[in-house]
């Protein structure tokens, strides 16, 4: 049974190291590509080969298809693992990889293309009977249309700019009397901010939690879900802390959400690892948001509770092997939490904090896993993402996992730069977090509380 002989990793940092480790475990040789900015990073030494492909700027190295393919050619690699970010969800890249005779470790190009488009993905969800947030079918152009749709949906509703982002061009409407003002102000704000006044209307999801389902499939028609990850601890749509299982789900809801995710992926012709993101409201109704066609940053949380190595499984199914487990073999055991350790200054609006790590102590011990490429003497370059590691714990219960994470964060020493470690300690101390009853407004609420006397 031959898997691959040599895999090229088209990524950097923590996830490159993660894939190197999976390769080593499977007896596969690994090749990393790197930019001049990563020349001195020590994870590069762990790969069997390393090829410098360009300048620090990602567009001239990690994002350049031609350079990555050329590196795969000169190293005689047979497959390419894209990690997350960079080229991982670029369907054109996947096509080139395959046209050049390499195997892409991820879903087929066609699936990436269709799922990358929000409208296609929503349409696919509708076909698969997967609930989506009820709303207008596209742009709402007139006052009359707006009234009609809002009445149909039931208040409260959200008016949202199609080109929107960061809360601009977005209005909450509690009652019919507020609708027209909100409609017009959202339009003019969107026009000013994005040069496009188009808006749509959605029913407000109250008390939303971001819960996602990990799925994985092979080319033999096996498609399995690995339970959920609770990702509601977010700051400006950036996840900071994830856990599994979610306190919002019970076995029955998990089963329904898992089945919905699998059905959607089956219809999309999905293979390899992917994540279906849902919103769950305060009445435990769930709505499809989007499908992420890649391995995700927070995949270790699922690995901890299921005992399944997602990256190794990705490699196996990409090589054409069947999944090594069936749905009924998947069990969630205990609780896992992941804290993203970012080089960011939480006292100054989370601005990136680059530079030399003077000293670093890696936390460890029972049930602690620290996936990081950083070390004392490592310099965080301003060219890339600020995430320098993922601290993950696993324990029999959620309370024990919280305790374990508190210990691990206490042990974690990173000197010379500012990190999110102190912020994570605050989250873990928060009574709302500890109760498990929180939604996506958690961090905003926490910061407001702090400002109050």
């Amino acid at each position: 049974l031959s898997v691959f002989r040599r895999i090229l990793i088209a990524n950097r940092g923590e996830i490159a190291l993660r894939v190197i480790r999976a390769c080593k475990a499977m007896g596969i040789e690994s090749v990393v590509v790197y930019s001049e900015a990563d020349r001195d990073a020590s994870y590069i030494e762990l790969a069997d080969e390393a090829v410098c492909i360009g300048a620090p700027k990602a567009a001239k190295s990690y994002l350049d298809t031609n350079r990555v393919i050329a590196a795969a050619e000169i190293t005689d690699s047979d497959a390419i693992h894209p990690g997350y970010g960079f080229l991982s969800e670029n369907s054109r890249f996947v096509e080139v990889v395959e046209a050049c005779g390499f195997t892409f470790i991820g879903p087929p190009a066609s699936v990436i293309a269709s799922m990358g488009d929000k409208n296609t993905a929503r349409a696919m969800a509708r076909e698969a009977d997967v609930p989506i947030v009820p709303g207008s079918d596209g742009i709402v152009g007139t006052e009359d249309e707006a009234k009609l749709i809002a009445d149909e949906l039931g208040y409260p509703v959200m008016v949202k700019a199609t080109a929107g982002g960061g809360g601009r061009g977005m209005r909450l409407v509690q009652s019919p009397g507020e609708l027209l003002t909100a409609f017009h102000s959202a339009r003019s704000e969107a026009d000013l901010a994005f040069g496009n006044p188009d808006v749509y209307i959605e029913r407000l999801v109250t008390g939303p939690r971001h819960v996602e389902i990990q799925i994985i499939g092979d080319e033999h028609g096996n498609l399995v879900h690995l339970g959920e990850r609770e990702c509601s601890i977010q700051r400006r749509h950036q996840k900071l802390l994830e856990e599994s299982p979610s306190m919002a789900l019970d076995p029955e809801l998990r089963e329904r959400m898992g089945a919905a995710a699998v059905e959607l992926c089956r219809r999309a012709g999905y293979q390899n690892a992917g994540t279906v993101e849902f919103l769950v409201d305060d009445r435990r109704r769930f709505y499809f948001m989007e499908l992420n066609a890649r391995v995700q940053v927070e995949h270790p949380v699922t690995e901890m509770v299921t005992g399944i190595d997602i990256v190794q499984e990705q490699i196996r199914v990409a090589a054409g092997l069947p999944l090594s487990f069936r749905q009924e073999d998947v069990r969630l055991e205990g609780a896992s939490i992941e804290c993203r350790i970012n080089a960011e200054d939480c006292d100054h609006d989370f601005r990136p904090s680059c530079g030399l790590i003077k000293r670093m102590f890696h936390p460890g011990g029972t049930g602690v896993r620290f996936d990081t490429h950083a070390y004392g003497g490592y310099t965080i370059s301003p060219h890339y993402d600020s995430m320098i590691g993922k601290l993950v714990v696993h324990a029999p219960t959620r309370d024990e996992a919280i305790g374990r994470m508190q210990r691990a964060l206490e042990e974690c020493v990173i000197e010379g730069i500012a990190t999110t470690v102190p912020f994570h300690r605050k989250i873990l101390d928060d009574p709302r977090f500890r109760s498990g009853d929180y939604d996506t407004s958690f961090i905003a609420g926490m910061q407001t509380d702090e400002e109050a006397p």
């Binding site: 040789e29 001049e36 020349r39 001195d40 590069i44 030494e45 069997d48 080969e49 390393a50 090829v51 410098c52 492909i53 360009g54 300048a55 190295s61 031609n66 350079r67 393919i69 050329a70 590196a71 050619e73 000169i74 190293t75 005689d76 050049c100």
Partner: protein
């Protein structure tokens, strides 16, 4: 004065590049004979093996440079202050401070700064070849040929200064791929050691994604050595040839 300053900055930047890349070039020369990838053991590329050495080599030299810099800075400041000038001392000091900072940034080791009675400034900066340098840790880098190493694609911005007449230029690969000396297996090589080349015609081919890319050097001069074997894999920034500038 502004234009002159601009010129100084540019020279400083160009020379910094020359200086900092010098060691990389020198190291790669020793390691470059091994195939870049696909080494027999399947363990690490030549360039990668060179990297730690390069880092190690950089340190002592940098330290010496810094020390040298400080010394020079003091003397320049003292000398300038003695000169009669229309500028107030504080304004002059500020200018000198700015220059010192520039030296720091660009690893310069010599700056002479003169102001005549009319307020016209004469500024000269250099990175090597000054008296009294041929001892201590700096002796070696100075004795070694000065290498300017820039990817061919950036040729225009980084063309070395005319002043380095006797210097060697490391012509590096602008891309990842397989190096070929001839357009086809039957054809003669584009160039050989001793040939004069100009930055107008191809000197080698790098094959990437089944495309034969003709590569033109970023400078003109005489080929002193060809650092990679025909058919060898090369990575971005790897030295292909050493060219003596005329």
């Amino acid at each position: 004065v502004a234009a002159r300053k601009q010129a100084v900055r540019k020279t400083a930047a160009a020379r910094k590049k020359t200086a900092s890349k010098k060691k990389a070039g020198a190291d790669k020369r020793t390691a470059g004979k091994k195939p870049a990838a696909r080494s027999a053991s399947g363990k690490q590329t030549a360039a990668k093996q060179a990297a730690p050495r390069q880092a190690a080599a950089k340190k002592p030299a940098a330290k010496t440079t810094a020390r040298k810099k400080t010394a020079r800075k003091t003397t320049s400041k003292a000398a300038a202050l003695r000169k009669p000038t229309r500028l107030g001392n504080s304004a002059l000091l500020e200018e000198i401070e700015a220059l010192a900072k520039l030296m720091e940034e660009h690893a310069l080791i010599d700056v002479s700064f003169a102001v005549d009675a009319s307020g016209t400034k004469e500024i000269h900066v250099s990175r090597g070849g000054i008296p009294g340098i041929a001892h201590g840790a700096l002796a070696q880098p100075v004795a070694a040929p000065v290498l300017a190493q820039t990817p061919a694609s950036d040729a225009n911005e980084d063309a070395p200064e005319q002043k380095f007449e006797e210097s060697l230029h490391a012509f590096v690969s602008p891309m990842v791929g397989t190096f070929y000396r001839a357009p086809s297996p039957e054809s003669p090589a584009f160039v050989s050691v001793g040939d004069h080349v100009e930055p107008t015609g191809p000197v080698c081919i790098i094959e990437a994604m089944k495309v034969m890319n003709e590569i033109t050097p970023d400078v003109g001069g005489d080929i002193v050595s060809i650092e990679v074997e025909n058919g060898e894999a090369v990575e971005f920034g790897q030295t292909l040839m050493l060219i003596r500038l005329r």
